[in-house]
């Protein structure tokens, strides 16, 4: 009757922490998707593949150049973000003004090609990525054991999410970005190079995905399909939060990670579907999402 009685607090907090970790990745990924969707009106299905490339970029740096985790945390988002900008300039750019379905198809195709190439070269099984020495070990909090690396992922993700929110909502550059999202023609007529802004926005959203990939590398294994599994849930998160809302996608990401963790404790069978059940419920009650603006 009361499942709580059968659950130790140890297990409860362990699952909550796992939920929070997943939530951090959901938040980083759905934040990037929201930023990209707002500006380019493109549902970026390549996001999972770019997240995977972030993890691989870190792995490459380590194996071929002996460059470790901390530089990779900067270099991988830069490198993959740059690749994103090339994709935008050479391909997505040409779809501007067309039905968003074309962007969806193109990015989905890119994801399949990229994942296929990586799988061909590195196989489907994962490759381990070592945890940075600085973050090995953990803290005994009394009620639970907290691995340092996981604490770092949660804290760092929250910091990156809040910094992104601040940059978009509270700075001059962010105001320009919001203006270009609302009315690109007029923003351009004020002398803003909107096409360049679009390229940079896509690059930034992609860099967030790659950053999540580097953060994930020591926890999950580095595998070609690590993003493909993840991204479906992330899209559900985006739908629940409402496309285009910055704070909405951050909060929804963390919230749903926690809900998933709790479900694992109390009713494990439902853990993989709970996000989708919530998605259906939210769509029935608030079709624009929890934080979305009604069209």
């Amino acid at each position: 009757m009361i499942p709580l009685l059968g659950i130790t607090t140890q297990a409860l907090f362990a699952q909550l922490l796992l939920g929070l970790i997943n939530g951090a990745f959901y938040a980083l990924l759905s934040l990037g998707l929201a930023v990209i969707f707002g500006m380019l009106n493109i549902v970026n299905f390549a996001h999972g593949a770019l997240y995977m490339m972030g993890a691989f970029f870190a792995w490459f740096l380590l194996h071929y150049f002996e460059i470790g985790y901390w530089p990779a945390l900067v270099l991988a988002p830069l490198g993959v973000g740059l690749l994103g900008m090339v994709i935008e300039r050479t391909m997505l750019h040409r779809l501007a003004g067309l039905d968003p379905i074309y962007g969806l198809l193109l990015t989905f195709g890119i994801a399949l090609i990229v994942q296929g190439l990586f799988q061909n070269a590195y196989g489907a099984s994962g490759m381990p990525y070592p945890m940075p020495d600085l973050l090995k070990g953990g803290q005994n909090l009394g009620f639970m054991y907290l691995p340092n690396y996981r604490a770092w992922v949660v804290v760092f993700s929250i910091a990156v999410c809040l910094a992104t929110w601040f940059a978009i909502e509270k700075t001059r550059l962010g105001a320009t970005l919001r203006a270009a999202t609302e009315n690109p023609e007029l923003t351009r007529a004020f002398g803003v190079n909107v096409p360049r802004l679009i390229t940079l926005t896509y690059g930034f959203g992609v860099a967030l995905a790659a950053l999540a990939g580097v953060l994930a590398a020591p926890i999950y294994q580095v595998r070609p399909l690590m993003g493909a599994d993840f991204i479906i849930v992330v899209f559900a998160v985006v739908v629940i939060g409402g496309m285009g809302s910055i704070m909405g996608s951050i909060l929804t990401g963390f919230l749903l990670g926690l809900v998933e963790g709790l479900t694992k404790v109390f009713y494990p069978q439902a853990a993989n579907v709970v996000v989708f059940v919530i998605m259906v419920l939210v769509l029935l009650v608030k079709p624009a999402g929890l934080f979305g603006k009604q069209a």
Partner: protein
């Protein structure tokens, strides 16, 4: 047009054609504006006034002919490049960004040249704006939105201001306030191309008038000749 002999025009439009998809909207527009002038473009709805402004601003995709601003041919330039040469638009429907605060709207257009109005002077022209700085753009009244739409293009250093129907849908007292502001801008040396239905109001500000019909300029006369052209105007504008 005595000025023509003294100085080169700041803006000179010749044989301007424009298309929206298949429909041919402008059929060879010719007009010239000299530095410091206020010129008003009159004409019925659909005559091509707004399209002319948008072409000058580079916002109409299919356009041909010649638009020369400050000795730069701009017909093939993108709107951001044209803006950086010193042209600024206050669009029809005002174009206030609802997701930006008044202050963000005001500071949005980047400075393109020295010589723009400092914020203090913009607030002297439009004191209402100063009180509403932190409001969201979408929450302003129509009059406040219009003041913001004009105010935000004054600090960039643009020399040619394109104002598209700045009095549309506004109360008489606000229209008067905007008239005073445009008069002050003229005194400050701004060159202004004004699209306006309300020609009695515009006649107090404008040096010259152009009248458009079916995508062409059909009349042009100085402000002093307005009375003599009243009959023709009534025929053209149907007022």
């Amino acid at each position: 047009m005595a000025e023509a002999d003294l100085t080169a025009p700041l803006l000179s439009v010749a044989g301007l054609q424009a298309f929206y998809g298949e429909s041919h909207v402008l059929h060879g527009v010719n007009l010239r504006i000299f530095p410091g002038e206020v010129v008003t473009l009159l004409g019925r709805n659909g005559a091509g006034k707004t399209t002319t402004l948008k072409c000058i601003m580079g916002m109409v995709g299919k356009r041909s002919g010649s638009i020369c601003f400050a000795e730069n041919e701009t017909i093939a330039l993108t709107s951001d490049r044209i803006a950086r040469l010193g042209v600024a638009l206050c669009p029809e429907e005002r174009g206030i960004f609802a997701s930006l605060s008044v202050e963000e709207n005001l500071l949005l257009p980047p400075k393109i040249a020295p010589g723009g109005l400092p914020l203090d002077e913009i607030f002297t022209l439009f004191p209402n704006l100063k009180e509403r700085l932190s409001s969201q753009g979408g929450k302003l009244s129509g009059g406040e939105q219009q003041m913001l739409a004009i105010g935000r293009i004054l600090r960039t250093g643009a020399r040619l201001l394109l104002l598209d129907e700045p009095t549309e849908g506004l109360a008489p007292i606000i229209i008067r306030q905007i008239g005073v502001a445009i008069g002050k801008l003229k005194a400050l040396g701004f060159t202004i191309l004004l699209v306006e239905q309300n020609f009695r109001w515009a006649s107090a500000l404008a040096d010259r008038f152009y009248v458009m019909e079916h995508g062409e300029i059909v009349e042009s006369f100085a402000s002093a000749e307005l009375a003599a052209n009243m009959d023709k105007l009534h025929a053209c504008l149907g007022v």
